[in-house]
Symmetry: none
Subunit: 215 residues, 4 copies
DNA sequence: AATGAATGAGACTTCATTCAT
DNA sequence: CATGAATGAAGTCTCATTCAT
């Protein structure tokens, strides 16, 4: 239960919550969070406006929910499909490609959710300290760091901590523009997507890791 | 004079326009364009609401102005400081660092303006096809391409066109998150800025250019 | 429920609707529709502005309502009073007088409503094609035609269709000026009203019907 | 010089006035007076907004001017073309037809002006007592009366004064709807115009004059 | 006298939130 | 608990009128 959300003791409450969440998910595929009115959410959920306010303190309290949906999707998807399998003797470059392809697939799939959270954190940074969002990004940073540490022998950079942090930052930035706003600049500057795109980024990351810092 | 703007015949008109522009510039340091009402702009400019509408067809017509302010600032700044000087025998890696440091300085300085345009194009992609914005990003892409072509001998990638496009995309993405929203994730994942940040990206780009495509 | 109006599910809604309608009815006795603001309607109805918009898509959607009020009044009135009774052997001239007197009474009673619709259709002919209004006038045309056909034997004109059409046109024009704008010219040119007025017009119509077309 | 208008002592003033008048005339062919803004008039006249206010106290003060234009047109037209010539032994019915055809022609020609004044007197009856408008209609009434008196021998009605007044009223009503709003109901009920229309009305009037009052 | 920039009241409309049923 | 009607602040935009130049 995230901030601004009210407890649901009864079964019926939980059902209502599900409805709201589904409606929001739906609506975000079409418009930005700002453009979706509470009335529209209620209508899509086939409940009354007041009912939304019974579950959520205000409209902003729905934001954490979006991330929550995303995380559930992510988990379900990871659980369902085979994860990234790394062969014992696999090359770092190949592994990065695998990761990037996979990441791209996930990101593209649920872009509307990430877009909503992302935009929101830009529009109302004060409200949306949204710990969840930060946590989410930090989680991705840790994954990157784990890979880098695992292949430390192939990495030429010495300051692994800083390298990991930078890689994580680029990883996220990379996906944000191309993944969340594929129709807008700067995404349109590179007219490829899918594997081509993922591989290109994997290569860039690989190259970076292989380049020794300058003395 | 950009689209939706009305002509200014008199001196007084131009003064008013400047007041509006300054007020907008000011306001954008605090909130997003959507959160700034026309009434607020008028108030900050110390003029009447109607006066804003005398100069601009509607609120959206102010968007191109933002980019215009930015470009003026850019030009003034470039004119003031010494540009990027490239020594004849200078190394690609060093050149990239220079470029990135400079770009970072510019971007950080007027982040609020770029942020406004960027956010707007995400919120109202239909309206804000904002040719100016696209042009601006394409211009940066061309600069990148020029550098790459100039140093073609040091670049190991063969498909220069695709390489340039990807580099341009990463260049812009890199600056967007860290430059426009330095307080938000994912920018916070990499806790450095200034030269450290610029150099790190320069290195990444350099490494990428030096890495041959896989056969 | 007319075009642009929103459905009312609850009793309370219907009460609100009636408040709005009554407020509008009231206001139109004093000013033209254009001069009545939505805020004024809300105030007269003792509700919030937004409440008006909850029931009606926009201000224009109130226009059909005006005609609706008028029609209800008309029906109620007709139901209440005895209708026009025609004796079997009654003279055409006498029948026309009866009709005109009755029509005059109806028209004078609810002049403010008809005035609103009439003016609106003159001010915004494009929007207010207002099928209702047209239908209403055509209905009156059909009534006239029915009478003429019924008394065909007493009518000397041969082209009954054209005669009916002209009679209907004159019937409406007659009422519009004198009925809707009794204080203005040209109504003031004929300083009588009520039966005197109605009878005079009945006579004119009678005379017209009795005059053979010129060969 | 009508009410609300300011005196023009100089030549230049008079020229300005002409420009305004012409611009207004022009504009009224396209939209209603309410829909024409002072700014538009100024633009069409190729003068400044303030200049309009130097000549006219406010927008409403332009209304009397419209009627003035109309009257000038009328006079010029009457002076230019041969007026209505009545042969000594001409039949009343034929004379009425001539009058109606001529009247129709005038009315149709400058409908936009009459329409503006007419609408205005309906929208703001308080302000627009517009003596001019009343005078104008009374003038037409006198003309009708003159004809009726001239043919008194052929008229069967006894109360000539009342008869004339009613005829004048119908004369004006007749032209208002069909002449000023030919595209709207009730004008559309009678799908003819020109001579057919004029003759039909002439016949109606003739018949009326020939019908003795009932005892 | 002319100009046209500036004014600001006021109109329409939206929508997050409240509250009586 | 759910409902959905009602609220009203706030936003965008228009235009008759004023006034400094």
């Amino acid at each position: 239960m995230s901030q601004g959300e009210k407890p649901a003791y009864q079964d019926r409450s939980r059902q209502t919550r599900e409805k709201i969440v589904a409606a929001l998910d739906d609506a975000l595929r079409e418009k930005s969070f700002d453009q979706v009115s509470v009335a529209e959410i209620a209508q899509r959920a086939d409940i009354a406006v007041g009912t939304v306010y019974r579950r959520f303190e205000n409209k902003d309290a729905l934001i954490p929910v979006i991330l929550e949906i995303y995380q559930k999707r992510l988990e379900a998807w990871v659980a369902g499909e085979s994860g990234i399998e790394i062969e014992p003797d696999e090359d770092l470059r190949a592994v990065l490609r695998k990761i990037m392809r996979k990441s791209w697939a996930i990101c593209a799939r649920e872009a509307h959710l990430l877009r909503a959270v992302h935009l929101y954190s830009r529009l109302k940074p004060d409200l949306a300290d949204s710990e969840d969002w930060k946590q989410y990004e930090q989680a991705s940073a840790q994954s990157i760091a784990a890979v880098i540490n695992h292949y430390a022998s192939q990495v030429k950079r010495k300051n692994l901590k800083r390298t990991s942090a930078f890689a994580a930052y680029m990883f996220n930035s990379f996906f944000i523009e191309k993944g969340l706003y594929p129709e807008e600049a700067p995404a349109t500057l590179f007219p490829y997507s899918g594997k081509t795109l993922a591989d290109e980024f994997a290569d860039m990351l690989y190259a970076y890791l292989r380049l020794p810092e300058e003395k």
